[in-house]
Amino acid sequence: MLVTLGMMNLSMSLKVDMDKPMYTVDLVSLTPSEDPAEGETGEPAPAPPQLAEGQAQQEQATSASIPPPPAKTEKARPEPVKDDAKAISEKKVDEKKKPEKKEEKTPPQPPKPEEKKLSREELLKQALQDVKKDVKETAKTAKPTKSADELKKEAIAGELAALRKSTGGNIFTAGGTGPGGAGGGKGTGAGGHGSGLMSVYGDIVKQIIRKNWRYQTFGTETNVAVTLELKIDPQGKITGARVVTPSGKAGFDDSAMRAVAETQMLPPPRVKSLDTLRITFNLQDVPK
């Protein structure tokens, strides 16, 4: 009785004000990597790359004079050629010489299981037999309180949960305006890794690749973007790259692929399960 009264007093004194706003805070946890040994080595974080040439360029006040034109420029002379000179086509070169493309392809997918080769009828028959077998077995072992349907649902849910756990498959975002925002990302889900590590790694990747990205902004629309998908190994080596969302401008897409090809190597990801980078190259004509 006394205990009940005490609890009633306590609940009356602890009023919860539901009108107060609630804040969600993304804690950046710079936890060591999964491998304790690696964490103890205390590898220094890769130094931020130097500022890009275009950014650091100072205004050159000095002017450079150019060599004078030929002495005969003011003389009247016949027009040597017309502007519309013959265009030289080299379609053969365009089409056959692309050895780089082979290197950029993503690694081949593992062969699919042979079960898929079964015909529809065979598959149905096999599935029916399996179901019958399962029902018999579960009928023997299952508790009488649960129906067969419930058991089946549980089995499906369990299987899916196991698959989800095994895949990991989180998609994080960094350095942009994509889902999850600049520093956040889609949660700290199944892998249990802090989004802070991903965000920091994303910033490092961004700076390294951007440094190697050369493209003239003059004359190009600013709303141009291409998304590449990069495969990296645990050492940070770029093992493959492909265009997943082209910009519609081949030259622009090539410049992004070239930047990735020149980068070759990135710092090892601190999250071991990270093996895919989706990088969107956006063009902006930012006045220097």
Binding site: A61, V81, K97, L163, G175, T177, A259, L277, P287, K288
Partner: protein, 435 residues
């Protein structure tokens, strides 16, 4: 029912299993390239007997290299940056080893070949080995090789940027002649330098009509101010006097009419002239202070100008649809000679600073301002090119007044050859250079 459930399970499993070994993915956004310059290498010109054996092709290559140096979005690479030197055995892609070029971070490579009066030139993208541009020219002589090189570079600029106004336009400017000033024209590379007026006195403030057929200017002599109009087709100029004895900074509007500062009411205001050269009854953006130096965007709806209506000279913009006037410059006490980019987004102007006159640019969209020239001496009379990217101006930085070109991003300025004597007040026009 059970069968359906089981089939659904199988389907889900089949969909998920291929990704069973997928790891985490990270999405990264990169905004803007790290380098705004593309590296380009002009390989030594080849003749029938190897590199350098054709003097004409070698001369063509030198002009191409010089021309490309004007384009601030290109960085000229040199052979000593390439491992193993010249990686080419010929002119076509099969004859070029692109690997050392890729290692040397060369993005574009130019191959040039010549035989007799024929010249071939190609530009390849080194990463994909794509042919970006290939041209063959015949009947080229030494006198015309510079012109051919200019045309090739204009084509390349068009391929890379979609624009080629720098090569396809002409500058008009004033030069000192016999104690006075006369108007000259030349290409942006200084080719085709031609004196177009012989009026006597001082001809200043040239402005091209939008189709490049006429140049309007001010003639100042012992007869006072007169408005001059030079006609390209007839190669003659006519001078016209206005009441008030003032005719300053005439400028062609996109519709072909001339806006000029006249002193019809005791002080200079900007008036539009009709086809018969009669001023409009009302001034554009009238005020009690002087207004001069009009400049229009391509639509003709926006006009920037310099006015002392609030005290010292500042830059203002007139919206010709609404009649509203907006002040553009707030920094500095002496801002003059505005030039509006064709798209109406940027205004360049000269500002008097503690170190002399300097060119500044104001982005009307981003509402930001920055300096794009840095002297020494005085930098004045800025003018946008037809693409709204290059900016020409006059400067005393190397002794005497010469014409230079930079970009709206403030790239390193390069001098335009205009021959001996001072040159000033450059104005871009879309007309090709005179023969």
């Amino acid at each position: 029912m059970k069968l359906k459930t089981w089939l659904l399970t199988c389907l889900l499993v089949m969909l998920v299993v291929p990704a069973a070994h997928a790891g985490d993915a990270l999405s990264v956004d990169i905004f803007g390239p790290g380098q705004n310059k593309v590296n380009i290498l002009v390989l030594p010109a080849r003749g029938p007997n190897g590199p350098g054996s054709s003097a004409l092709a070698t001369s063509f290559g030198n002009y191409v290299q010089s021309d490309l140096g004007y384009l601030p979005f290109l960085r000229l690479a040199y052979l000593n940056e390439i491992l193993g030197g010249d990686p080419s055995k010929g002119l076509k892609a099969d004859d070029v080893d692109f690997k050392p070029l890729q290692l040397g971070r060369v993005d574009l490579v130019v191959t040039i070949g010549g035989r007799g009066q024929e010249i071939e030139a190609r530009v390849y993208e080194t990463y994909t080995r794509k042919l970006l541009l290939g041209k063959a020219y015949s009947q080229v002589d030494e006198g015309g090789v510079a012109h051919v090189a200019d045309r090739f570079c204009a084509q390349l600029m068009r391929v890379l940027t979609g624009k080629s106004g720098f090569f396809d336009s002409t500058l008009a400017f004033a030069k000192r002649v016999d104690g006075g000033k006369e108007l000259f024209t030349a290409s942006a590379l200084g080719r085709g330098l031609t004196q177009i007026t012989r009026d006597g006195g001082f001809n200043v403030s040239p402005s091209w009509s939008k189709n490049g057929s006429q140049v309007a200017y001010t003639n100042i002599s012992d007869k006072g101010h007169r408005l001059g109009v030079w006609d390209r087709s007839r190669r003659v100029s006519r001078l016209r006097k206005f009441p008030g004895n003032v005719a300053i900074s005439p400028t062609y509007a996109p519709d072909g009419r001339i806006a000029v500062a006249l002193s019809l009411n005791g002080h200079a205001d900007i008036y539009m002239l009709d086809a018969a050269m009669n001023p409009s009854p009302h001034a554009l953006a009238p005020s009690w202070g002087i207004s001069v130096s009009p400049s229009f965007d391509l639509s003709g709806r926006k006009m920037v100008f310099c006015s002392g209506r609030l005290g010292g000279p500042q830059i203002f913009m007139l919206n010709r649809d609404s009649g509203s006037v907006e002040r553009i410059t707030y920094e500095g006490t002496y801002n003059t000679r505005p030039s509006l980019s064709p798209d109406g987004r940027f205004v360049v102007f000269a500002r008097l600073t503690g170190d002399g006159q300097r060119i500044f640019i104001r982005d009307l969209v981003a509402n930001q301002e920055r300096q794009i020239t840095f002297g020494p001496g005085n930098d004045e009379d800025p003018s946008f090119d037809p693409d709204g990217y290059f900016v020409s101006f006059a400067s005393t930085r190397n002794g005497g007044t010469k014409i230079y070109v930079t970009t709206r991003a403030g790239d390193a300025a390069k001098q335009i050859p205009t021959g001996p004597g001072d040159a000033m007040a450059p104005a871009w026009g879309v007309a090709p250079a005179l023969d």
